[in-house]
Symmetry: C2
Subunit: 221 residues, 2 copies
Amino acid sequence: MSTTRRGYVRGAGMACAGMFMEAAASTAAESPDLLSLFAKRQSVRRYKPDPVPQEHLTRILDAARRAPTSGNQQPWKFLVVRDPAKIAAMKARCLQSYESRLLELPEDKRVARRREIEKSAGGYFSAPVYVVVLTDSQSEYPSYNHHDGPLAAGYLMLAARALGYGTVYITDAIPEKVTREVLAIPDRYQRVCITPIGMPESWPEPKAKKKLEELVAYETL
Amino acid sequence: MSTTRRGYVRGAGMACAGMFMEAAASTAAESPDLLSLFAKRQSVRRYKPDPVPQEHLTRILDAARRAPTSGNQQPWKFLVVRDPAKIAAMKARCLQSYESRLLELPEDKRVARRREIEKSAGGYFSAPVYVVVLTDSQSEYPSYNHHDGPLAAGYLMLAARALGYGTVYITDAIPEKVTREVLAIPDRYQRVCITPIGMPESWPEPKAKKKLEELVAYETL
């Protein structure tokens, strides 16, 4: 039981308290603007060099920390990287880490593929700022960190989009090992993802998405 | 390699394509309204019975399917439950499932605790609609479903808040086993969470949150 939250028991007090309080937040009216934000966020893989003002970055991170979190544990660390030397080092280590994959290819294919990879890395590493989203294995309910981590990353990316910035939820394209080594991330922190934040060189064409009817079932699957 | 996305290689073409396209989405101006949404979403544990219009529910689910998803796999199923009989059955099975925990308590404590649990369950199951967020183990990149699942749930909860509805990201308070049995969810689908959607009986008092400075590190941890 030590890592479960006993939702009912803990929930009882909260629900009860809630009933005798005035509403603490105003009810949002319907807002098409708010809803249009969700469809506007897209994965951006090449950025303009323009810096992100600290005020904007702070507001983006402030949104991320409002994500749902198990038992209000807030197990997050947001590691912000703007140092061009660190960004260059991550890029170099990524390219190294892909060399072994190139060796899986027939020799005559490697040159073209290496060019592709370098172009792609040039895009991923063209942003002025990166945020590594981490969770702390020493948090109050670590067995729930795999929920809390992506939730905060999603909030961060939506908030960035609300301010006009692009992001992309990167996992294996920038291997965890690379960020851990270059940024000296202690073992206690697990990486959720890393995302660039910056003005897109251009907004990508919207991806084809499944129809809502394919994804929704009513009452039974 | 079969389940990894080879981000660089796949990314190369996309980034490249992006460079020769017009912006497909307008750049959002700064919007305090959008950013205020993140802080407004709170976990709601007791609801009014008022139904959620289908139009609103559709818009909420439409936002959820726009979440970041690995290689655009969209591995989600959103199971919507409004049938009062199914909701009552989930509540009954939840209460049953907690009986074993009550037996862990000294006998003189059980009655009070049982009353607490019933009150809490009464709150959790007071909403007019529930959405079970699922991922498909037969998706294109199933090893990334643990990212995609919470991301979609977070989008869903923010979209609901934008329309004035409350939600709560429930895991063990309504055990997966209960939803799987009562709703006959096939084994191929993994449950991410279940959330009620409805008008809050009242908005809870905002929870105390860690300071941003505790959660953010610049350049190094």
